[in-house]
């Protein structure tokens, strides 16, 4: 499933441009993702810079790093990584997202290798990355242990996986399902199945089971007064993010 095989019919371009505009409309249906994005990026960039000894104030600080974004959607994480100089592969199981993300990357003047594929398929092909971004995916997969094993196989020794998901407790049920889906209508109803949510300790056990070493975890906390997300050391009660490394050989 190479991106070069994804042919774009000129007649389809207008449709994809409209869909790209929808993905990237900060007031549109992906508004909650856009609101969370600076906070997610801040965590991802800080972890990558620390792990690979990069300073963040130069041009192309992530040059030479190969990064995989699983569940790339419209490219909300893949584009920033490419802009910071990384070689980026964006993978999405939804075929329709690929040309949409490609159209937007071209408009942004960025080279990104988007592929309609899965973590398991990429691992089977023997692909290897310095960084695997695994953001808000694990709560949607059928078999988290098998999925995380594929993510671990995709990492080079010494590589870094960033994994975020939703905690499972009464508060996350209230916030993510009732709040985001029903009250705020930020997300379509049925986006999440609360029983699939994973507690931080469960996630750490799954990550260790996949052969990775968890090194950090933080919460994403929404401040309704400032109307923005912040990273929290202690509050992992709803959205949280983790960093794990693959031991060097």
């Amino acid at each position: 499933m190479q991106a070069s095989e994804t042919t774009v019919d000129a007649g389809e371009v207008a449709k994809f441009e409209a869909m790209a505009a929808e993905w990237w409309d900060t007031e549109g249906k992906f508004k909650p993702l856009h609101m969370l994005n600076p906070c997610r990026l801040e965590y991802i960039c800080a972890q990558i810079a620390a792990e690979f000894g990069r300073t963040r104030d130069g041009k192309s600080p992530f040059a030479g790093l190969r990064i995989l974004d699983i569940g790339c959607g419209g490219g909300l994480l893949a584009e920033p990584m490419a802009r910071l100089g990384a070689e980026v592969v964006g993978a999405d199981a939804a075929a329709g997202n690929i040309p949409v993300a490609e159209v937007h990357a071209e408009q942004s003047g960025l080279e990104i290798d988007y592929r309609h594929t899965t973590a398991e398929a990429l691992a089977a092909e023997g692909e290897q990355f310095d960084v695997v971004l695994n953001m808000e995916v694990v709560e949607h997969v059928a078999d988290p242990a098998a999925y995380l094993a594929a993510c671990a196989a995709l990492l080079k020794p010494g590589g870094l996986m960033i994994c975020s998901t939703l905690n499972r407790n009464p508060k996350s049920f209230a916030m993510a399902i009732v709040g985001a889906e029903y009250v705020m209508r930020w997300l379509p109803k049925g986006t999440h199945d609360w029983s699939k949510f994973i507690t931080p300790d469960e996630l750490f056990d799954l990550i260790r089971g996949a052969g990775l070493e968890p090194v950090d975890r933080k919460g994403f906390v929404f401040n309704p007064v400032l109307w923005k997300w912040k990273l929290s050391e202690r509050d992992l009660s709803v959205n949280y993010v983790t960093a794990s490394t693959k031991p060097a050989e």
Binding site: V8, V13, H34, P38, L41, E102, E106, Q107, S108, D113
Partner: protein, 419 residues
């Protein structure tokens, strides 16, 4: 990714500069330097042709808040200006009527009450502008286009394009308008303005005086409007006062000696004999706010975003706060790999500045209306009020810190830190 058909459809965009700035005044120039030092390439577009100043004092000077001075320090301008700047060691605010001198209850701000040293600095335009100009010309990251006016601007995928009067097209990720109260950048972006006139005019001049000012700035509130005496290097001071527009027009048309005759009784003889030094200026006062400070790929700053009553000398300081906030927002976004021209990035700057600026406009307006009165009851209340403020050190420190620009969520450049 080598699909030749797709290349023909889209084509990769390469911008002339990362950021285009329209307006090469003090705000635009400082912004260009700060952005260049954080790694961006800049095209600075200035309508006026480059001029070589005579170096003679022309009467123009600026009261820089401590926070503004820190910004200039971080970007390397201050070390050149320092020897020619006059520290403001103390500010005395009092209520007075022409010929009567200050009232006994006066608000006495002393820099010893805040830990950061002087409360601010007086800098002359003839010193500030050439240093800024030289640093801009020396910066390899800044392309200066003087004598160029912008005739059109529009957003393009991944950027913004402006057309100059000579037909040149320039593109960047982001366009910043530092082009003053009649901002063309704002108008072309469809940003409307609101405001009103105060029917007052500020009269500005500089004087030489007999006795030392000891670094003390004075602000008197006269029935016609406030009068400020701001210490300059040596035995000189900058005077700013306001009058009803009709009266101001009459005064500014007077000869030098008659002008001094009007000025003298307004602040008494505590500086000894005075004479005029440099040119005189007058500016009709008006409040003008852009309805938005940002649009897709466009950010406004300085007078292009907001013109406030200059009662506390906050115009340039507010502009430099814009510079510091905008640079911080843009740099942090770029370091996360975000597209710096998108509206959700730019709205962080607007949110940061909007409250501060609208608050400042409202505060200076109320302050001016309260103090520009001859009503004896209001005058008494004011005198007592100032006496009470003086008796409460904590409250007074709060006023000083606000005036020095040290409150609120302070941008890193205003704290003297590089981003």
């Amino acid at each position: 990714m080598d699909n030749p058909a797709r290349r023909r459809i889209f084509g990769i965009m390469k911008h002339d500069s990362d950021i285009l700035i329209v307006g090469g005044g003090l705000n635009g120039g400082t912004l260009a330097l700060a952005l260049a030092q954080t790694g961006f390439s800049i095209t600075l577009i200035e309508g006026r042709a480059p001029t070589v100043g005579s170096g003679e004092f022309d009467g123009r000077s600026y009261a820089l808040a401590l926070a503004s001075q820190r910004l200039l320090k971080v970007i390397g301008i201050w070390e050149v200006l320092d020897a020619r700047a006059q520290p403001i060691l103390d500010i005395k605010v009092s209520d007075g009527r022409a010929g009567e001198g200050p009232s006994p209850f006066f608000l006495h701000f002393d820099h010893a009450e805040i830990e950061e040293g002087p409360m601010g600095f007086m800098v002359e335009d003839r010193h500030f502008r050439p240093v800024l100009q030289a640093m801009i010309e020396a910066s390899p990251a800044i392309t200066l286009r003087s004598g160029s006016s912008v005739v059109a601007q529009d957003t393009i995928p991944g950027g913004v394009r402006v057309r100059l009067a000579d037909g040149t097209d320039l593109t960047g990720q982001l366009l910043m308008g530092a082009d003053g109260r009649a901002s063309g950048v704002a108008e072309r972006a469809g940003i409307a303005r609101r405001g009103w006139s105060y029917h007052q005019t500020a009269l500005v001049c500089a004087i030489g005086h007999e006795r030392s000012h000891d670094g003390v700035a004075h602000q008197f509130f006269m029935p016609s409007g406030p009068l400020a005496i701001l210490p300059l290097h040596g035995n000189r001071a900058s005077i700013v006062w306001t009058e009803e527009t009709q009266e101001a027009d009459r005064i500014s048309n007077l000869g030098a000696e008659e002008y001094l005759e009007v000025l003298r009784p307004r602040f008494g003889d505590f500086l000894g004999d005075i004479h005029l030094d440099g040119a005189r200026y007058h500016y009709p006062l008006a409040l003008s706010l852009a309805e938005r400070f940002v649009a897709p790929r466009v950010a406004l700053l300085g007078d292009a975003a907001h013109v406030v009553h200059p009662i506390a000398g906050q115009g340039l300081n507010a502009g430099l706060r814009d510079v510091a906030s905008l640079v911080e927002v843009i740099v942090l976004a770029a370091r996360r790999g975000e597209d710096i021209g998108t509206i959700d990035v730019l709205q962080r700057y607007e949110q940061w500045r909007r409250f501060d600026v609208v608050g400042l406009a409202a505060a200076t307006d109320t302050f001016n209306r309260l103090f520009s009165t001859d009503n004896p009851i209001l005058r008494l209340g004011r005198d007592l009020g100032l006496g009470v403020v003086n008796a409460l050190p904590g409250l007074r420190r709060g006023f000083i810190r606000e005036a020095a620009g040290l409150t609120g969520e302070v941008p890193r450049l205003l704290q003297g830190r590089m981003i």
